[in-house]
């Protein structure tokens, strides 16, 4: 029984939250990695693109709710997501046409593009706050839990509860669908392959008759989709605040770099590495020991490796460690 209790405890506090947060990070990191591998720069504006996607979802949610369209018990955000994606894609393409394209045609250095993306970050951040305001927006509706802790306890008779929030379930399922779609597109379709070819060897891709503008367009379509879904899921799960997305950029970059920049599989792995390390390092192990060790061996104190206050800092620490030990990341990515 103690053993099962321990497993439940780990699932409830590490496994499920880790999978959820990891999926969100992975989707974000995929966006960064794809922009990097095709357009060759680190896009600091990606966090704001995610925020923009989430904002679009919220605005559409309000619209749909005022029209009394909903998907109870699922949150309304699910129905509006496709439309929000289209809006986000449209914004990304617009930004590219007005801003990034100029530097692409000039073959600017990647640092210049990076600084340009900071300009885009400022502008988009301001635009979002201007439209929706800086405050907290909760746009979750419908049933809160797929599985309540109490139901689980009653059902299994265990002391520890296991809860699965609707947002967590949705996040994990949607991420899996999106990732499968993305990999199918990149590996099985002609356009997807041409995108990989372009990122691999730009000159030869041009010689083969691959249209660069089309590749760029598709890159932004994918990026916009990923950003919108990641941003909406994050906002749905943790409530939306424009300010948090700026701080999300770094964990996302960490995930992309840890996995190996330019490598989509790496981005996903990186996302989960970051998410799980954050949870594992800040988890209070006292209770686990309580279940797994005889009583007289259970030590005092919470047994945290680092206090929970440092949760987000862990992603930066991992980032620094990876840069120190293996700058190319887990899956050898392109060295920036």
């Amino acid at each position: 029984m103690d053993f099962l209790n321990g497993i439940t405890l780990i699932s409830n506090y590490i496994l499920i939250p880790g999978l959820t947060y990891g999926s969100q990070l992975a989707l974000g990191a995929l966006g960064i990695t794809i922009v990097y591998s095709v357009l060759r720069f680190s896009n600091f504006a990606h966090g704001e693109f995610m925020s923009f996607g989430a904002m679009s979802s919220i605005l559409l949610c309000w619209l749909f709710l005022s029209l009394e369209i909903n998907l109870n018990p699922l949150p309304t955000a699910i129905i509006v997501l496709p439309f929000a994606i289209i809006i986000t894609i449209f914004y990304c393409i617009l930004v590219d046409k007005i801003i990034f394209k100029f530097y692409r045609l000039q073959n600017s250095k990647s640092v210049i593009n990076l600084i340009v993306s900071i300009g885009v970050m400022f502008f988009t951040g301001g635009l979002i706050r201007f439209i929706i305001g800086p405050g907290d927006k909760n746009f979750f509706d419908g049933e809160r839990f797929i599985l309540k802790a109490k139901t689980f306890k009653n059902y299994t008779g265990l002391r520890e509860g296991l809860a699965l929030k609707t947002t967590q379930g949705i996040t994990i399922v949607l991420s899996i669908i999106l990732v499968i779609l993305l990999f199918w597109f990149l590996n099985k379709t002609k356009t997807g392959k041409s995108m990989r070819a372009y990122s691999d060897n730009k000159e030869l891709a041009l010689l083969s008759g691959i249209n660069p503008e089309k590749v760029v367009l598709i890159t932004w379509i994918i990026t916009g989709t990923l950003a919108c879904v990641a941003g909406t899921l994050y906002g749905l799960d943790k409530s939306y605040k424009p300010f948090t997305y700026l701080h999300l950029v770094l964990p996302i970059f960490s995930a992309a770099i840890v996995g190996g920049v330019g490598n989509p599989v790496g981005a996903i792995i990186g996302g989960f590495v970051i998410a799980f390390s954050e949870l594992i390092v800040t988890f209070a192990y006292k209770k686990i020991f309580f279940y797994f060790l005889p009583n007289y061996l259970v030590p005092d104190g919470l047994l945290q490796i680092l206090s929970t206050d440092y949760k987000i800092a862990i992603s930066f620490i991992i980032l620094v460690l990876v840069l120190l030990i293996r700058p190319t990341g887990i899956y050898k990515g392109k060295i920036i």
């Binding site: 392959k193 691999d200 060897n201 000159e203 030869l204 010689l207 083969s208 008759g209």
Partner: protein, 234 residues
Amino acid sequence: MYLLFGENITCGYGSIDILFNCDVGVNEGEISSIVGPNGAGKSTAMKALFGLLPVKQGKIILDGEDITNIPPQQRVLKGMGFVPQTNNIFPSLTVEENLEMGAFVEQHDCTKMLEYIYELFPVLKDKQYQLAGELSGGQRQQVAVGRALMTKPKVLMLDEPSAGISPIIMEGLFNKITEIANQGTAVLMVEQNAKQALKISNLGFVLNQGKNLFTDTGNSLLENKKVRQAFLGG
């Protein structure tokens, strides 16, 4: 009448000219080699023919049509295939995907062409799902040539195909090149290994300092005393 003909070409990088009134060309179903010392302008001639460099003077004619001013991508559609000297594959794509990318502009099914290339280079068939970047130098070169052949070009242009591969593998590659020409695709190549290249060539163009020095059949160039002394090492 040449199938592909660069007539009286002058071109270069920026304001500095490399080629001066040069003629190079290849006949249908034949092999032509451009040879000469370092800095003679061989690769420049190749780039000019494929439209990677603007031509200042002269004309480029493919199958009777003036193509001097059309971009490289269009030339692919018109029936030219080009294998650059370096970076001529997509390393993180599989062999088969590399070949498919070669036929990117083709609208119709490319399985037939794939079969032909696997027949020509049986090794590639074995490694079709392997990443091209993991192959050996000679195999990569085969992928590169295969990629360029996917569009069924009238003319295949090779920039130093033997660069960086061992002499034995080079010989095999040259045999394949002869085979390609025999099946009707004209081959125009730039080669550092002038002797071997001229042996399999119908026509040879010896360039020096951006100018035509000798133009003759491959064999007569090999026998020409001056050419031997100056460029073939005796």
